[in-house]
Symmetry: C2
Subunit: 323 residues, 2 copies
């Protein structure tokens, strides 16, 4: 199947790497809003084209994987391109997913295409873990812990503070909270009890460190509800120790059948958040292509994808090797 | 939806409990090969009927959950009843799954019914964890650890030894092996390196304990390839400490995108193996009913079931609460 990638940031590069690892997929082109001559990609035989070219590529691309931001890019891009292609996105603004789903559904159905939204690991693999657990053991409680890993949104928020040259924020689950949940105790946990936030900050020369630390720790939504630590380091140390984008976490579900307790845990430990997310998007592209070939259309989430559609293996191979 | 249960051992009772917890399911009857007057069930409004009655109940039951053994019951029963009902089973003789799938497929397709085979946790939830991981990160390695939990097959094997009154066998993963896999090391592990076997044995009075221990430890397939410990205890102690049927385990997948490693782990800690397995079967019954109502027929495994089909919630509810 022929794949297009729209957007070439961290996620777009992750998708490119995943497509290269999938023998049944071929990257046709990366589409960018920048001047294509300034964008160098890793796949030798793929083109770099301006986004404006997409309208002329309807017959050249089976699935377009859209690697844009959830705030402004995806709400506009995914419905727009679902009218031309099978599309995949990683939309993750939770409160707006129903609206986004409905917009993509309308465009995709009219065009006879599939649009799989909110793919990745959360939303995505973690959502699936929650759904399986709730379906098998109704009435239980799910807990999601994120980290230890880099939150790019929180790192950006620190970088916007006056006097900050660079920053990296790690989200860290509180080990005792994880253990309580794992034991099947079903605790009620506040935001502060679930995660701590570790900030590694490079200050500009002469900046007021106490003010920066206070601004971080008191920032509403991002840090005020958490136990936050701020460590000032040099740019060299940040580059050396904290340049990667590791992440992960766990969905832990605690349910019961009568007095018998059952604990289900799904966890990820990822060296590269964008590369793993990109890998999920590439697998979803395979599913979208197949479902569309079977005559299906409209918006889908990973909830609507039978696991076998994500795999390149045949039914016989799956049964023999993995069942 | 109206549910029938065929077979009323540990698993049948587990399914009954799960159906009672599912608001959209109603248990119509338990079917048994025994004299129905000797079987007492937990559901007040359901009937106990002889298996022979099933042929007259085609219009009274939407899904028949077959709770028989994989050795002789299911290979015969599942295809037979797939010709009359949507059916669910937990067939777990791995080498024979392709043949079983094909037999069920033929009968179910001719009848326009769905037959979901090999439901449960392994095969079942663990198979799904393996499939998702392999699909997202091709080329990695999956490891399955079982336990700490009771293996009923191994307990039965010990009970067949001369001089043994009762026994309970626990399968236990080797912690250092689990840690090596979790670290992403991708080790090659022998059978002996992955699991140990702990046997709690009640000997008959005057039995030769040394002979019993030796017979257990040298039993081919069951124990000879493992580090096995045998502890003789009284019937009272066995009843008190080891009467439950806990089980669980982990599927750990170790994959990579280039030099970045990713570890995916799905684990279960179950107080009751048959009750959890029964809960999975009940959720699969929901999916079979819906898929059949949409016109699908033939044999399926959990690989072929989109996660949303397992849930009683609507698409809108799933998106709002779990995505």
């Amino acid at each position: 199947m022929k794949i297009g990638i729209l957007g070439y940031g961290n996620l777009g590069r992750g998708v490119e790497k995943a497509v290269a690892a999938n023998k049944d997929q071929e990257l046709v082109a990366v589409f960018t809003r920048r001047d294509p001559s300034t964008v160098k990609i890793a796949t030798p035989d793929a083109k770099v084209l301006h986004t404006d070219e997409l309208v002329n590529m309807k017959n050249d691309i089976d699935v377009l994987i859209i690697c844009g931001g959830s705030a402004t890019d995806l709400p506009e891009m995914t419905p727009k391109y679902a009218a031309m292609f099978n599309v995949i996105d990683s939309f993750d603004t939770h409160a707006n997913i129903p609206t986004h789903f409905s917009n993509v559904d309308k465009a995709a159905k009219e065009a006879g295409k599939i649009g799989v939204i909110s793919c990745g690991w959360d939303p995505g693999m973690f959502s699936i873990a929650r759904l399986y657990a709730h379906s098998v053991l109704p009435g239980g409680e799910d807990y999601t812990f994120w980290g230890r890993g880099v939150s790019q949104g929180h790192s950006d928020a620190i970088r916007r503070i006056d006097g900050v040259a660079d920053a990296r924020q790690f989200t860290v689950p509180v080990p005792s909270a994880v253990e309580r949940v794992r034991s099947g105790e079903n605790p009620e946990l506040t935001t502060r009890e679930k995660h701590t936030r570790e900030c590694f900050v490079v200050a500009e020369e002469g900046a007021d460190l106490a003010r920066i630390e206070s601004e971080i720790k008191n920032m509403p939504n991002y840090f005020a509800d958490y136990d936050t630590t701020v460590t000032f380091i040099s740019q060299e140390e940040l580059n050396e120790k904290y340049s990667g984008l590791p992440h992960g976490g766990s969905v832990i579900y605690s349910g019961a059948t009568g007095e018998n307790k059952h604990v289900i845990e799904y966890s990820l430990k990822l060296d590269s958040n964008p590369e793993f997310t990109g890998s999920v998007l590439a697998a979803c592209a395979r599913a979208a292509y197949r479902m569309n070939n079977e005559g299906l259309s409209g918006a889908k989430s990973m909830f609507d994808i039978a696991p076998s559609y994500l795999s390149p293996l045949s039914t016989e191979e799956l049964i023999s090797h993995l069942l």
